[in-house]
């Protein structure tokens, strides 16, 4: 498995190169001049041109690309035009929020999504199944900004149980208890994703329950709960594993709405703001990091497949 992982990591290199070109081109195709935006409305064309030259934006695109690539290979993602800080540290401060938020959300998804999915599948056709299935449908279709605002209204404004916005780093005053800032946002993010997992678990379990080996398990005289968990859920997990991996990646890159509602300093909001500011180095850096994240998740999912399904061999 180690050899396989090493081999897969090697094959990531050409993919990453191709991705870096796309990212670079895409970012530079966004209309608008970063120097002009940085200097504001009152700047003269001469001042803009001068700043542009200082930042190297007057050179041909391919030259800019190779300079950037050379720096990236040395671990230098450049300097943020807006923050005047290394891109890596800008991303780093957003990453703490995003990773913690995504992890907490995943915990909710697992704690809520799996049991309800199993319950719904094992009680197929009963009122329990009807309630959980329509609940999942509802949760999947509630807009996150709406749910987020309602949670804030109830639990922050009315009850005052949880803070409504911001997230101080775990290294700030408060330490681990600062996680309470992420409670409402993670529940907000978890709702639609847990709903998808409920539906996926239910559908996969119903598929598996029709397979012949489940009849064999019942013919052994096993208790229905044991059949449901050890034989149906365990096999359904193969299909669910991929969803878990990609949900995690999506939680980091697509949490913009939730981060905005709760004013969280996460990666999603960083991307949007950096695009508005034409902060090219940050946009490029974040997208590159997200591409790497998806590749790692892809690899992790493949490794998980091999662990969950002995028929899959890693080659």
């Amino acid at each position: 498995m180690l050899a396989y992982t090493a081999k897969r990591l090697l094959t990531l290199i050409p993919t990453l190169l191709a991705a870096s070109i796309l990212v670079f081109l895409f970012v530079h195709l966004i209309p608008g001049d970063p120097a002009a935006i940085l200097l504001g409305d009152t700047a003269t064309p001469e001042e803009v041109a001068q700043l542009s030259a200082e930042m190297g934006f007057d050179r041909p695109l391919h030259v800019q690309y190779f300079i950037w690539l050379g720096n990236v290979l040395q671990g230098d993602l450049g300097t943020s035009i807006f923050f005047r800080q290394p891109v890596l540290s800008v991303i780093g401060s957003g990453a703490e929020t995003s990773i913690l938020l995504a992890s907490m959300t995943m915990i909710w998804i697992i704690l809520i999504g799996l049991p309800i999915g199993i319950l719904s599948a094992t009680r197929q056709g009963t009122w329990i199944d009807q309630i959980t299935s329509s609940g999942a449908m509802l949760a999947a279709s509630i807009p996150t900004f709406w749910l987020g605002l309602y949670l804030i209204m109830i639990f922050s404004v009315t009850l005052g149980w949880f803070p409504s916005s911001g997230f101080p780093s775990l290294s700030d005053h408060g330490g681990i208890t600062n996680l309470r800032y992420l409670l409402l946002p993670s529940l907000t993010l978890a709702a639609p994703n847990a709903a998808l997992i409920v539906r996926l678990v239910r559908a996969s379990m119903l598929d598996v329950s029709r397979e012949d080996h489940v009849r064999t398990a019942r013919a052994k005289g096993l208790h229905p709960t044991r059949v449901a968990i050890k034989h149906i859920f365990r096999n359904a997990l193969i299909a669910v594993a991929a969803a878990f991996g990609f949900t995690f990646a999506a939680l980091i890159s697509e949490a913009v709405v939730t981060e905005t509602v709760f004013s969280l300093p996460g990666i999603g909001r960083l991307v949007v703001q950096s695009i508005l500011r034409r902060d090219y180095p940050v946009i490029q850096g974040v997208i590159l990091v997200i591409v790497v994240l998806y590749m790692v998740v892809n690899l992790a999912v493949d490794l998980a497949y091999a662990r969950l399904d002995p028929r899959v061999s890693l080659k």
């Binding site: 012949d212 009849r215 019942r218 052994k220 096993l222 096999n235 002995p310």
Partner: protein, 324 residues
């Protein structure tokens, strides 16, 4: 009293709000150490009968609507779910038609056998594992102490069916139900598996219900035979009596469709037409649309079961008559 007594078993399928009978008035007995063959074309209700005995119908669409199943002195249909489960895989076990898919692909075969053993017997994992290796060698899997750790996909169909047999026999069942255990296997492997079952039966004294659509297989392995057609037993007798005189036109048709060695066609279509589906309403004898001896009477009146010879019952208005 026989080990297994099935009396007037009725099974119905619920489709589009209607209850359609699939198995009607089926009765038979099986004694210890005896093999009963149930034969008939596909769709005649053989599997549903077997699943009903085993307790695996358990759905809302297919269910038992009448009759009795007695096993080892117990009335199976009145037992609680828990009592029923304590028999399944223990005193009564079943192997299925689909060896390729009947084992769970994610667990080692040894663990699947161990699961069956430990469900019913107080044993440590190590003891159960030793027993699993022993069972694998009993069903003639080579290198059993290594193969016990194989996954199903690492074995051939014939080997997987042997594993199923090992699992079924793991708690020394009194009754083994084998639903077309060799249909999905190559001809040579078929014979090996049937020989294995016969051999194990003589050693362990297990009663067997062997289901097949192949009268040839039945004639070689069974003590007695029940021929099923569209949910009913149409002819039943001890094997030698049955083959001495096939009294029902359907049974004769089945015999004629035994593949003939050295012939160009390997399957003779001796009975024209097919088994009518559940939805098709039929009056009279269910076989009449396909029967060479059909008369007006056959289309209007259901033939009752009659004793053609002592111990040889037939459901036909013209039992024993041969086509002109």
């Amino acid at each position: 009293m026989a080990l297994l007594e099935v009396q007037d078993l009725e099974i119905a399928v619920r489709t589009k709000g209607k209850l359609l009978p699939v198995v009607q008035g089926v009765s038979f007995d099986v004694d210890d150490n005896e093999t009963l063959g149930i034969v008939g074309e596909s769709g005649c209700g053989k599997s549903l009968t077997a699943l009903a005995i085993m307790g695996l119908l358990g759905g809302t669409t297919v269910r038992i609507t009448g009759g009795n199943i007695r096993f080892d002195g117990m009335d199976l249909l009145t037992l609680s779910d828990g009592e029923r489960r304590s028999i399944m895989g223990n005193r009564m076990a079943m192997i299925f038609q689909e060896p390729m898919t009947s084992l769970n692909p994610v667990y080692r075969i040894g663990d699947q056998i161990i699961e069956n053993i430990r469900q019913h017997q107080k044993m440590t994992n190590a003891q159960a594992r030793d027993r699993a290796v022993e069972l694998l060698s009993l069903v003639r899997i080579p290198n059993p102490s290594e193969r016990v750790d194989s996954f199903p996909h690492q074995m051939s169909g014939g080997q997987r069916q042997r594993v199923m047999i090992a699992m079924a026999l793991s708690c020394d069942p009194k009754l083994l139900i084998a639903d077309e255990p060799t249909t999905a296997l190559d001809v040579t492997v078929q014979k090996e598996v049937l020989d294995l079952m016969a051999d194990l039966q003589t050693r362990m004294g297990t009663a067997i219900v062997l289901i097949s659509h192949d009268l040839g297989v039945i004639s070689e392995t069974c003590d007695k035979v029940a021929v099923m057609y569209r949910g009913r037993v149409v002819e039943a007798a001890a094997t030698e009596n049955l083959f001495a005189e096939l009294a029902h036109p359907y049974t004769r048709g089945l015999l004629n469709s035994i593949p003939v060695v050295d012939s160009d066609v390997d399957w003779l279509e001796a009975i024209p037409g097919r088994v009518p589906t559940l939805e098709e309403e039929l009056t009279g004898c269910a076989f009449h649309p396909r029967c060479a001896l059909v008369t007006k009477l056959c289309a209007t009146s259901v033939p009752q079961e009659t004793e053609y010879k002592p111990g040889h019952s037939v459901r036909c208005h013209f039992s024993g008559k041969v086509a002109p």
